[in-house]
Subunit: 397 residues, 2 copies
């Protein structure tokens, strides 16, 4: 059977299992009106070593494909992020985002240091995981209720972009901490400045070199192979980000931001989406497969999950009140910011890969991420219906 | 920098180099009106160990991605192959295909056994490489001259599909020979029967279960993620093919044949094409990178290249006369069948991977493939213009 090397055959088998599992989960969870990413995590859990043992999470090809998936995903998020809109929603979004990042970070760090006896590095990591926001789900709920363009919708979307940027900065700080092994305030300031500078420079380059880039792109456009250039660009920016000490996905996100305002952007998005559809599930299924189910079945870890879930929820619910100047449901905004989804998972996976946490604590974190993601949609829906039901009577709208 | 494991970073760097090289080659070779695949081979040669040494052809991730690219490519070829059309062009196409496969196979085997003192296995491999036909190029030339629907065009396309099937059978025979280490006629008959049965069964299943498959597919269709199902299917069929002892790409091709007549096929093709655009170049660039340039610079190998090129050209040019019943340029048909392109490369790579030939002989084969691919378009163009120029005067058409 040497027509195909053994590792190639193994890679193909792993891909078939993972993708078929993800597809099945997507089907079932869509029927259950639950987010697909939850389904992929559950299927991963089922196929992973905890239950069926069909997925080899240490297979290098699987890990690489998962990484490509995350790069494609963040590239897509970058393409979708409208910098101009972010600047327009302004103050309220910024406040919501900042509270929603700082509050869970601080609460989790305090809990980690004083109750779990974590060192600063581990506590900072714990806090970072809980800061993430994944509004993909929220957007779906808002669309369902036709509320994407409501005040709540705009503030949530604006805050989510800010959150992405803040999250990427936190992740870059973690990369640095992992490398140096300690939390040095000077380093944190430098990494923050570097990440911000990288992103701002990307946006500015995108704005000012727009015409020149377009001309080169048009010249190099060989019969609809634009996606190849776009993908090379995303990989290259990820590489640059890694080289200057930031997280790879900061680069992919920046690449997306640069292309955001360009021609063909719809086409690029559509074609990148093929990659995201195929490869991002590999990340989420393997993230689920890395969970050690057994380690969750003890009182200590169950308490951990409950406390961290409460911190995660409170942090984001309070953040909604950052929009105090707006006539909108602050609770709905808070609920909308609650799901940690894929962003939280990228953090948790980083911690596991870098050895900041063990399998058991990783499993706790994934559980917390799943619970917040699971709780948010019904809470948001109920609150919006209640709030607009009331308002409808008052304003007759 | 442990945010990304070392092998992931290396994989990203290799992908950037390979894809950027392929993109550049595509740009330059399109300007030169030469086929992109030639450009990718040249760039591979340049980036490979012979010259710049930037590509690591033993990197497992690169090899895997190259394999995914070939699977996507043959899946695409399968989707494009209209079985009905193949049956319509009928007898002439079949004869052209058979002569074009048998003649170079026999000539090369005779040359290999009597002049190069090859054993039967190696001689059979040599012959197989020279049987391949890659009409992608030919189609482009025909399009340029608006002759896709001419008699020549139809016969070439029909023969090319037959050739693909014959080629896949030959490759499966090679897989078996490599495994057992000897040429046993009984085995060859069995593998041929197995491969034919696999392909025919695939087509029949596709025809008769059409409605049922469509119903399942529609049921499982989760928000435009049809490409995931299609890709899983291609991987799964490749896996089945490997397991029953055929070449992986036979399965990918069969998967394409099954989907050929289905709804959404345009969409699947378009999305599969994203994968082909991204990953197939990885195969061709690494195929070029595996060439040892130095080994070509000696009289013995130059003679080899010349003789094998002559055999490869004669075999296909003679095959054109298989269309003796048609009022068409037999020479044009022969020239159209000449390029070995990607199919020949898949064969050559197999031989290198399986250890049937060494680096030097592999380099000779790639040279022959490149020369036939390079010669065909200008010859075809000149002949068609000459033939139709004459006919125009006669028939006033």
């Amino acid at each position: 059977m040497a027509a195909v090397e053994k590792f190639v055959l193994e890679g193909i088998i792993q891909l078939i299992i993972i993708l078929a599992g993800a597809k099945f989960a997507g089907f079932v969870f869509e029927k259950l009106k639950q987010p697909k990413v939850l389904g992929e995590l559950f299927v991963g859990l089922l196929l992973g070593s905890s239950v069926l043992g069909l997925i080899d999470i240490n297979n290098e090809i699987v890990i690489f494909i998962a990484n490509l998936g995350v790069i494609a995903l963040l590239f897509e998020v970058g393409i979708e992020s409208r910098v101009s809109e972010l600047l327009r929603t302004g103050f309220s979004s910024l406040l919501v985002a900042l509270i929603g990042v700082i509050l869970p970070l601080l609460l989790a760090m305090i809990y980690g240091i004083y109750f779990l006896e974590f060192d600063t590095v581990k506590a900072f990591f714990l806090g970072s995981v809980l800061t993430a926001t994944s509004v993909g789900l929220t957007v779906r709920v808002l669309q369902e209720l036709d509320k994407v363009n409501s005040t709540e919708g705009k503030i949530i979307l604006g805050a989510a972009v800010t959150d992405d940027v803040l999250g990427l900065i936190l992740l870059s700080i973690l990369v640095d901490i992992e490398r140096t092994g300690s939390v040095v305030l000077g380093n944190i300031a430098m990494i923050t400045a570097l990440a911000l500078a990288f992103l701002i420079a990307s946006v500015l380059i995108g704005r000012f070199l727009e015409d020149k880039i377009l001309r080169v792109v048009k010249m190099l456009k060989v019969k609809r192979t634009f996606i190849v250039a776009a993908f090379i660009f995303a990989l290259f920016m990820s590489f640059i980000a890694i080289e200057i000490g930031l997280a790879a996905i900061v680069g992919a996100f920046a690449a997306g931001l640069i292309l955001e305002s360009k021609e063909h952007v719809e086409k690029i998005w559509e074609k990148t989406h093929v990659l995201t559809q195929l490869f991002a599930p590999v990340f989420f299924v393997t993230a689920g497969a890395a969970v050690n189910l057994e380690s969750l079945f003890n009182l200590e870890n169950i308490i951990l999950i409950v406390v961290l879930t409460i911190i995660a929820c409170i942090g984001k619910i309070v953040s909604g009140f950052g929009a105090f100047r707006e006539k909108a449901s602050k609770l709905a905004i808070g609920y909308g910011m609650m799901p940690r989804g894929e962003v939280g998972l990228i953090f948790a996976q980083f911690g596991l890969t870098a050895g900041l946490v063990g399998e058991a604590f990783y499993s706790v974190l994934v559980s917390v991420i799943m619970i917040t993601t699971f709780l948010a949609p019904p809470l948001l829906k109920a609150e919006l219906e209640k709030f607009y039901g009331k308002n409808k009577k008052k304003s007759g709208k």
